[in-house]
């Protein structure tokens, strides 16, 4: 079983990770967990003419590190193997696309993460992912 766990450093994402860790313990064979942190692109075309890809990637890696580390710790503690990925793009679309291209059986994510006012009720990202993906989605409150 291959689980996609999108994380953004929020408390909700951490709770989703704990759920996956608990779920992983119950399964006969530990699931493969893909951690995905999506970074919104910061550089317009003009900016990119002045910066190296290396500098941009370094920035995204630093931004992603915090979100990934806490979740990695939760999962490794429970003996569930996890593989981290950082992708730059539109958040919901990237999650859906990543689940498809990596053949994930399920997406587990928090109902809402760091998204703002728009996502106050049901996370806007979660809602959008539901619309975009054909995989089962498990929302953790």
């Amino acid at each position: 079983m291959k689980i996609l766990l999108p994380v953004d450093g929020s408390e909700q994402a951490l709770r989703a990770a704990r759920h996956v860790a608990a779920m992983g313990g119950d399964l006969p064979k530990p699931p493969t967990v893909l951690l995905l942190n999506v970074q919104p692109p910061v550089a317009s075309g003009l900016v990119r003419r002045f910066l190296s890809q290396e500098a941009l990637d370094g920035y995204y890696r630093d931004e992603a590190r915090g979100a990934l580390e806490s979740v990695e710790a939760v999962l490794t503690q429970s003996g569930v193997p996890a593989e981290s990925h950082v992708v730059v793009g539109d958040i919901a679309a990237t999650i859906a696309e990543f689940a498809a291209s990596h053949g994930c059986d399920q997406i587990v994510m928090g109902t809402r993460g760091l998204g703002g006012v728009k996502g106050a009720l049901l996370g806007s990202v979660a809602t959008e992912v539901l619309h975009l993906t054909d995989r089962p989605v498990l929302l953790v409150k």
Binding site: P30, T32, Q39, P40, P41, V42, A43, S44, G45, L46, V47, R48, R49, F50, L51, S52, Q53, E54, A55, L56, D57, G58, Y59, Y60, R61, A64, R65, L68, E69, E72, L75, T76, P81, A82, E83, S84, H85, V86, V87, V88, G89, D90, A93, T94, E97, L114, G115, G116, V117
Partner: protein, 250 residues
């Protein structure tokens, strides 16, 4: 030239300048932050200060020149068209890859050079926008820059995050540019008299149309472009790997 704004119009124009400056300075903030990333912390602070100081000086000078040029007939029209385009491009999805292949500069001089070069190229949109919103008032222009630039320097990280999280800020900024562009275009000497005589309420109708035009066209273009996706390689050379825990797989 416009009538120099007073009273409520003055404050409205000042807010416009600050708003425009904030949404259009995101790019500069990114370059300043990223170009100095490779430097040790102490040098980084100096590179940021040098870069932003130069940016302020350049913008005040260029904006004054632009504001003076705007009194020639036809130039307001051209400037307005340029601003409409700048507003539309603000709404286009940002690319996620395609930075040049060159190495990241690790020297102070290299970082400052990158910041300055980028500033020259990227303050043009800013300058035209501010000159338009200032409506010929040098006081407004300098005041607006004096307020917004420190705001940008000292809170660029916060601003970038806010814009990521609340994309509606960008839409408001783009609408503002459309508004200001139309406001400027209708006062151009070539068409001003004709518009006054033939189009009722042109001072309200045109800015609203300008704002709508920018948002609708920008959104439409954005929806036609595929969102770019780029995976960041995690196998970095320095620091502990946050990369993969594959090896722990049983």
């Amino acid at each position: 030239m416009h009538d120099i704004p007073t009273g409520a119009a003055f404050w409205f124009a000042l807010l416009q300048i600050i708003g425009i400056d904030i949404v259009l300075s995101g790019d500069n903030a990114v370059v300043i932050a990223l170009a100095s990333r490779g430097l040790p912390p102490e040098q980084r602070r100096r590179a940021v200060l040098l870069g932003t100081g130069a940016a302020i000086a350049m913008r005040v000078m260029l904006a004054l020149v632009a504001a003076a040029l705007m009194s020639y007939p036809g130039l307001k029209l051209a400037g307005g068209l340029l601003l409409l385009w700048i507003g539309v491009s603000l709404l286009r999805p940002q690319g996620s890859e395609g930075g040049h292949d060159g190495p990241t500069s690790t020297t102070m001089a290299g970082a400052v050079r990158t910041i300055l070069l980028a500033d020259v190229a990227m303050s043009l949109d800013n300058v035209v926008g501010i000159a338009a919103a200032a409506k010929g008032s040098a006081l407004l222009l300098i005041l607006g820059l004096a307020i917004s630039i420190p705001l940008i320097i000292f809170s660029s990280a916060v601003l970038l995050r806010l814009m990521d999280r609340y994309p509606v800020i960008i839409v408001i900024g783009a609408a503002l540019l459309g508004w200001v562009a139309a406001e400027m275009m209708i006062t151009d000497g070539l068409i001003h008299t004709w518009l006054q005589a033939n189009v009722p309420y042109v001072h309200w109708v045109a800015p609203v149309l300008g704002a709508l035009l920018v948002v609708v066209v920008g959104k439409w273009l954005a929806s036609r472009l595929p969102a770019p996706v780029h995976e960041v390689p995690l196998a970095e050379s320095r620091g502990e790997p946050i990369a993969t825990h594959k090896e722990r797989e049983p």
